[in-house]
């Protein structure tokens, strides 16, 4: 079976695009082959800085001929039907169709569509130009006088096809003046010659001889192996970095590793600063001392050539650049050390956080008061929490964070430690950005938790207030991540918090800031207020509240939160967003989303931990037979109630009268509900949801019996009403635990 070998040789392809491009090339070509009727046994794509290559093994030499019969309208059918048939089958006139007959239908037309098999070579030559022209590069360019777009100028195309035993053919095609051929080129500096290639093994071997390692994974192995060995020889350890490794493998066709060093004086810098300086600017790896865990003054660089002097000039050059960069970093770090974090705070007043939500300075003010309120709820020292919140953003105006944004928080922590802040405070400065996502570290220290929560609640409430919510794939302010962070902080630390009340507090602080800095009109013109009922009165109500208690809003620990109707609307919406995020989290833990809905639907949910406990217990209940039958009984009761309530235009929600219960099954159910209610109250108060579910499941037998024995719509209207009230008692009892109507199945 013949193989196909394709190579697209160009100027340097950005490292970050190479792997994806190889995958795209493979799927585009193989899909087009299959579409054209060519099957294949296997395909593999490769990328280097200067070439994309594809090998497709086990192709037939031609596609099979196909014959298809398509039935058409009966003979003598209207003109319109015939025209449609011709169009659909590609026949030019109806005489080209055959006539067949059938005892039922009579005579009708049949079109025989025959497609001859085609040589694979022709097929490949046909599909390639289109694939090259429309290749999905993230960014592409034209060059010279041409119109072709490629990631960087494309220079040559190698395309050969043939069985292993014969000399493969060149598949000839042309794209914007570039003709496919049988040759390629070697390494840019070490073996730039043009040479002929036949098939994959030949291609790889010749590339190797011309100082090109085709396979990116092998280049990665070479770099990793070399770097590790070089480090070990020095008694050091490579600090591995998969992203960096992938990138440097995309910058070299013939990689080798050299070791450079810099003055030990730079080791006074935080390790993270050294590592980023060397990684971001120079794309080099750092080495650490295994005995101390700290960085050493050595780094590993990759080079694309085997230099004639063994690399000493290259090492010297790289060292020079590394030293220059580290000198800059050292200058920044030393000037940061001289400035107390506290003294940087005024600068935060001139950094706009968001046009509508004010400056970072205002945000810090809100964080201090919100975190102070959270502190006692998570057993954190209030004074220290307030201190940490106050300093949390101060490093944003440091020179080091200006250079390396991703070190925000960490630099603040180091500076705080250097400046003698309490260690827990320093730690909270670093941790308040956490968790970074679905799997990032979760702070566990109380002060860190308090500030981390305040940071996220403030952002969520603020953006909700100005109606900048995530939509579809757009979430420019990472609000989904913030909500997920809150959920993880609460659940993984097993926290009991009045989430809803805290969100109201956060919202109130945002709105009050907005009103005091941008005027009340700014608040009154918020998009949220334009919707539904939130005109006039609600706004007035809110401002009266703010005016009467402005100090309280910003600086005191909340008493019981009373929501204005505007706040109520915003927070309801935000809580619904939390419910959605929670479903995503719970799905990973195997908890059905409808169970979360069933608990949320009870309304007034304030405490995520309880909510999850309830949902978990509910999940357990619905796994046994009692639970499933109880759910069925509940649904039956609810359906009957709904229908009858609608018919009568009345609500049957009173207590049934015991004296009207005539049948045994009624009495049994009535007593069972009384018993269950009596048991549920203390269990729910103790948050023993498993116990509550158990108490509830005792209803299953009586409910089943009731539906077997009892005809609800009795002749006697009093008895009927009493029985309906009994049904509503089932509903009420169950609703103490969850809204079963939201549960599917």
């Amino acid at each position: 079976m013949p193989d196909l070998l394709l190579e697209l040789f160009s100027e340097e392809i950005p490292a970050r695009m190479q792997r994806r491009a190889a995958d795209d090339l493979k799927s585009l070509v193989t899909n087009a082959l299959v579409e054209a009727g060519l099957t294949y046994e296997g395909a593999k794509a490769y990328a280097t800085p200067r070439r994309l290559a594809l090998h497709v093994a086990g192709l037939p030499s031609a596609s099979k001929a196909t014959r298809e019969e398509r039935k058409g309208p009966r003979v003598g059918a209207p003109e319109k039907a015939l025209a449609g048939f011709l169009r659909g089958t590609g026949l030019s006139c109806i005489d080209e169709a055959q006539i067949q007959s059938d005892p039922k239908k009579g005579e009708f037309y049949v079109a025989v569509i025959e497609k001859p098999g085609r040589d694979s070579q022709d097929i490949i030559a046909d599909i390639m130009p289109g694939i090259i022209r429309s290749f999905p590069w993230p960014k592409s360019q034209r060059w010279g006088t041409g119109s072709l777009k490629w990631v960087r100028p494309l220079h040559s195309i190698l395309c050969r096809f043939g069985p292993e035993t014969e000399e493969p053919e060149v598949i000839e095609f042309e794209v914007d003046g570039i003709k496919s051929g049988a040759t390629t080129y070697g390494h840019r500096f070490m073996a730039p010659d043009q040479f002929e290639v036949r098939r994959l093994e030949d291609y790889m071997a010749k590339l190797e001889a011309h100082k090109v390692v085709l396979d990116a994974d092998r280049r990665k192995d070479i770099i990793l192996h070399d770097a590790k060995n070089s480090a070990m020889a020095l008694g050091l350890e490579l600090v591995e970095d998969e992203g960096l490794l992938e990138e440097v493998a995309g910058l070299n066709e013939w990689p080798s590793v050299l070791i450079g060093s810099y003055d030990e004086a730079f080791l006074q810098l935080p390790d993270e600063v050294i590592k980023l300086t060397i990684k971001e600017n120079q794309k080099n790896f750092v080495l650490k001392d295994p005995s101390t865990g700290r960085l050493s003054n050595k780094f590993a660089l990759t080079t694309n050539i085997e230099a004639s002097d063994g690399g000493s000039v290259i090492i010297r050059g790289n060292e020079k650049v590394v030293v220059a960069r580290l000198s800059d970093a050292k200058f920044f770090w030393e000037s940061d050390l001289k400035t107390r974090l506290e003294d940087s705070l005024p600068k935060l007043d001139s950094i706009v956080f968001h046009e509508k939500l004010g400056t970072v300075g205002m945000r810090v003010h809100r964080l201090v008061s919100l975190a102070s309120e959270i502190a006692p709820l998570v057993q954190a020292d209030v004074t220290k929490t307030a201190r940490a919140a106050k300093l949390a953003k101060a490093d944003l105006v440091s020179a080091t964070v200006y250079e390396f944004t991703e070190l925000q928080g960490l630099i603040g922590r180091y500076l705080a430690q250097e400046q003698g802040e309490d260690n827990d405070v320093a730690l909270a400065i670093e941790n308040h950005y956490k968790p970074a996502g679905a799997h990032g570290d979760i702070p566990a220290a109380p002060i860190s938790i308090a500030v981390a929560l305040a940071d996220k609640l403030d952002v969520l409430a603020g953006f909700w207030a100005i109606d900048e919510k995530p939509t579809g794939s757009k979430d420019p302010f990472a609000l989904r991540r913030a909500a997920l962070g809150v959920i993880r902080l609460i659940l993984e630390n097993d926290l009991r918090l009045p989430l809803r009340d805290l969100l109201v507090q956060a919202l109130r602080r945002n709105l009050a800031h907005m009103a005091s800095h941008r005027g009340e009109e700014a608040v009154a013109s918020l998009p949220f207020l334009g919707k539904g009922d939130f005109a006039g009165n609600a706004v007035q109500e809110f401002f009266n509240f703010v005016r009467n208690s402005a100090d309280k809003v910003l600086d005191s620990v909340a008493e019981k939160v009373g929501e204005t109707s505007f706040e109520h609307a915003v927070i309801d919406d935000l809580m619904a967003f939390f419910a959605e995020r929670l479903k995503v989290v719970m799905k990973e833990k195997g908890i059905r989303h409808d169970l979360i809905d069933a608990v949320f639907a009870l309304g007034g949910q304030n405490d995520l931990a309880l909510l999850v406990k309830r949902a978990e217990a509910l999940g357990a209940l619905l796994e046994n037979e009692n639970g499933i039958n109880l759910l069925a009984g509940y649904k039956r009761a609810a359906n009957i109630l709904r229908a009858e309530e609608k018919k009568d235009g009345a609500v049957f929600d009173g207590t049934p009268l015991k004296e009207l219960l005539s049948e045994n099954a009624e009495v049994v159910l009535f007593e069972a509900i009384e018993r269950a209610n009596a048991e549920l109250a203390p269990l729910l108060a103790q948050e023993d949801y498993a116990g509550a579910m158990n108490a509830l499941s005792a209803l299953r037998g009586p409910v089943d019996l009731f539906f077997v024995e009892i005809h609800v719509n009795a002749e006697d209207s009093g008895v009927r009403e009493n029985r309906l009230k009994l049904l509503s008692q089932i509903r009420d009892a169950v609703h103490q635990v969850a809204d079963f109507s939201k549960i599917s199945g």
Partner: protein, 327 residues
């Protein structure tokens, strides 16, 4: 003879004080010579303050339209915010770029570039030269292109760009632009760590003139000027004046075009000068720290609008390809 042998040979015949590895001016002259050999017109720096060699009309405007063009020149660049009072070993508010523009970009542009490195003493068998992704975008010129920063042993020594758009117009044909950071390259080939220690004229002893001898005082004085003394009120006024003048000239140019009846704009290059002036004034205001973050964006947009208007008008001139030139 191999290319390396040619350049080695060239070096052997030039006097030591012109050696690009020993003399700043030698480096500069070697590059001029090299690109003169490749058919470029060797221009002199544009006679006004610009932030980069790209702003020279020989690049910005000539990259527009269908006409072929080859030029190379040294351009002094002013970046007021980069001033460090002469105290930083490699940051300057005034420095040189060597700029090459080839339109259309030739097939072997990368090879030509590497050849030019060899000509100034960078042996590619000893040094690790790499093309690392770096897309270029100039918000003030409404321009972008794709290319690389060129690394020599981990140090960025040049920018290499295929222009895709200038002044909001597609470049057809595409120009290839090379920008060499001359001070950085010279520091590298001379093996010097402080820019002010560069040997400028390649002489030794009493005859030696260093980069510091030429520029240190200027760096100190201009840093003071840019950060402390420049009259901001005057600058705000000038920005507006240049903006107005650019618009006025373009309007006049438009009118002259219609009056002459030949469809050709008549006063585009003078209008474009005003764009460069406005742009430099903006950079000074930025250095003086009197432009807020939000204002900043609007100033950039205002300069871009002017640049775009000039680009549009340039396409309706003879150089812009509106009518064929008889040779």
């Amino acid at each position: 003879m191999t290319l390396d042998a040619v350049s080695a040979n060239n070096r052997a015949t030039t006097p030591a004080y012109m050696d690009p590895t020993k003399s700043f001016q030698g480096l500069l002259l070697t590059l001029q010579h090299f690109w003169a050999d490749k058919g470029c017109a060797i221009l002199q720096p544009y006679d006004m303050e610009v932030g980069a060699g790209t702003f020279h009309p020989a690049t910005t405007l000539r990259a527009l339209g269908p006409r072929p063009w080859k030029a190379a020149y040294v351009q002094s660049c002013r970046r007021p915010t980069d001033g460090r009072y002469g105290e930083n070993p490699n940051r300057l508010q005034h420095y040189y770029q060597f700029q090459v523009i080839l339109k259309p970009s030739p097939e072997n542009l990368q090879e030509l570039y590497l050849e030019s490195l060899r000509a100034i003493g960078i042996d590619t068998a000893l040094h690790d030269v790499r093309f690392v992704e770096d897309d270029w975008e100039s918000p003030t010129l409404g321009a972008w292109g794709l290319g690389w920063e060129c690394w020599c042993d981990g140090m960025e020594v040049s920018q290499f760009t295929y222009f895709q758009q200038v002044a909001g117009f597609e470049c057809k044909p595409v120009s290839g632009e090379l920008t060499y950071g001359l001070e950085r390259l010279a520091m590298y080939v001379q093996g010097v760590d402080n820019v002010y220690d560069l040997n400028f004229n390649g002489r030794e002893g009493e005859d030696k003139i260093t980069y510091g001898d030429v520029f240190l005082q200027a760096e100190q004085e201009f840093s003071r000027h840019n950060f402390e003394y420049a009259d901001t009120e005057m600058l705000f006024r000038h920005f507006k004046d240049h903006e107005d003048e650019c618009k006025r000239l373009l309007a006049f140019s438009e009118k002259a075009k219609d009056e002459a009846g030949d469809g050709l704009h008549k006063v585009v290059l003078p209008a474009y000068d005003q764009v460069n002036k406005a742009s430099h004034v903006f950079n000074l205001l930025d250095a003086r720290g009197v432009i807020s973050v939000t204002e900043r964006q609007s100033y950039i947009l205002r300069v871009r609008e002017l640049a775009k208007a000039c680009g549009t008008a340039f396409l309706e001139t003879q150089w812009g390809g509106k009518e064929p030139v008889s040779k």
